[in-house]
């Protein structure tokens, strides 16, 4: 990396602090959720796990609601990016972004040009937007007012909570692995928010071409 490296601000502090709270709340939620599903411990220990699950669930809710309000314009941009598709996405999924080839065969295959998020990240984004909302809403229903919900709705909430919980947990394994493996993105998200210009141009050419502007100082 040369000294006069140019940088792009990829994740401003608002996104980073939201993501930090997301990590701090969702990972304990995922772990306690899996434990609550398999019930490996005695009643008292399971009770403790349930309490941790509820407290971290409340933290996750506060994080999500706060970001929805404070970072509303960023939420809308995230929705637009996550739901923008083109033929490139079909091509991307047909080779899974070149990742299996890279990890399993050590081969580098040409990947169609991507925007800020690649097709896999967009799918993850959609799962987080829809699944996360459903998890939060059903979680509050199940914890706070199962007795008020009409007959059958509590059971429906339970099923939805279970299904989307598993979807997000399994997707998260991929996200965390790639989030650490793509180390420049990791540093951008966990430290300073910046990504080297050249790297972004290679990984997200459409983003750099259409969305990135030079700052006039």
């Amino acid at each position: 990396m040369s000294k006069n490296q140019s940088w792009i601000l990829k994740h401003p502090w608002s996104v980073r602090s939201f993501h930090y709270l997301l990590v701090l709340s969702f990972i304990p939620l995922a772990i306690t959720g899996v434990v609550l599903f398999f019930k490996p411990f005695d009643q008292l220990t399971m009770n403790l796990y349930m309490r941790i699950h509820v407290v971290t669930g409340v933290i996750l809710t506060l994080d999500a609601v706060a970001y929805f309000i404070i970072g509303f314009t960023r939420v809308i941009a995230f929705v637009k990016r996550s739901f923008s598709f083109s033929v490139n996405d079909i091509k991307w999924f047909s080779i899974l972004g070149g990742y299996p080839q890279k990890f399993l065969l050590g081969k580098k295959v040409p990947v169609p040009p991507m925007g800020k998020y690649n097709s896999g990240q967009k799918l993850f984004g959609i799962c987080v937007l829809i699944g996360g909302t459903i998890l939060i809403a059903t979680g509050w229903g199940l914890w706070g007012f199962p007795h008020i919900l009409p007959h059958g709705m509590t059971a429906l909430f339970g099923t939805l909570h279970l299904v989307f919980g598993w979807i997000l947990i399994l997707f998260l394994l991929v996200h965390v692995f790639l989030g650490i493996y793509m180390f420049d993105d990791f540093k951008a998200m966990f430290l300073h928010g910046k990504i080297p210009y050249e790297e972004a141009k290679e990984m997200a050419p459409l983003w750099v071409e259409t969305e990135i502007v030079k700052i006039e100082r």
């Binding site: 140019s6 940088w7 792009i8 601000l9 401003p12 502090w13 509303f72 314009t73 939420v75 809308i76 941009a77 929705v79 637009k80 909302t133 809403a137 008020i148 919900l149 009409p150 007959h151 709705m153 430290l191 300073h192 928010g193 910046k194 210009y197 259409t210 969305e211 990135i212 502007v213 030079k214 700052i215």
Partner: protein
């Protein structure tokens, strides 16, 4: 870390005004519709409960004997056999023994 040291950023006009209004409208509608639906389901469920409650009161109002201590059968049972409520015999016969864990039923 010094965040100021970057030369490029995202253009704020990535989402146009029109798109912003459209997308936020859709997002808020999608959040609001289930909320409205659940609310009306809860209200409807409460109306069932209220109707049932009214039915029970109506049954009561029409019955000759409305309270258990007015029930001549129960009175006879205590007089001839169990003595009085909470007596030793009634304790043994009518009271459940202990809490039963039903989570696995």
């Amino acid at each position: 870390m010094k965040e100021e040291r970057y030369q490029y950023e995202e253009s704020p006009s990535y989402v146009s005004r029109r798109e912003f209004i459209a997308i936020s409208g859709i997002v808020i509608a999608i959040l609001a519709l289930p909320a409205v639906w659940i609310r009306s389901a809860v209200v409807k469920r409460n109306s069932y409960i209220r109707a049932r409650l009214n039915g029970l009161y109506k049954d009561d109002a029409g019955s000759k004997v409305r309270v258990s201590h007015g029930n001549s059968g129960v009175a006879k049972l205590y007089k001839d056999f169990a003595g009085h409520p909470l007596s030793e015999v009634s304790e043994e016969l009518f009271h459940t023994q202990s809490y039963v864990n039903r989570t696995r039923i």
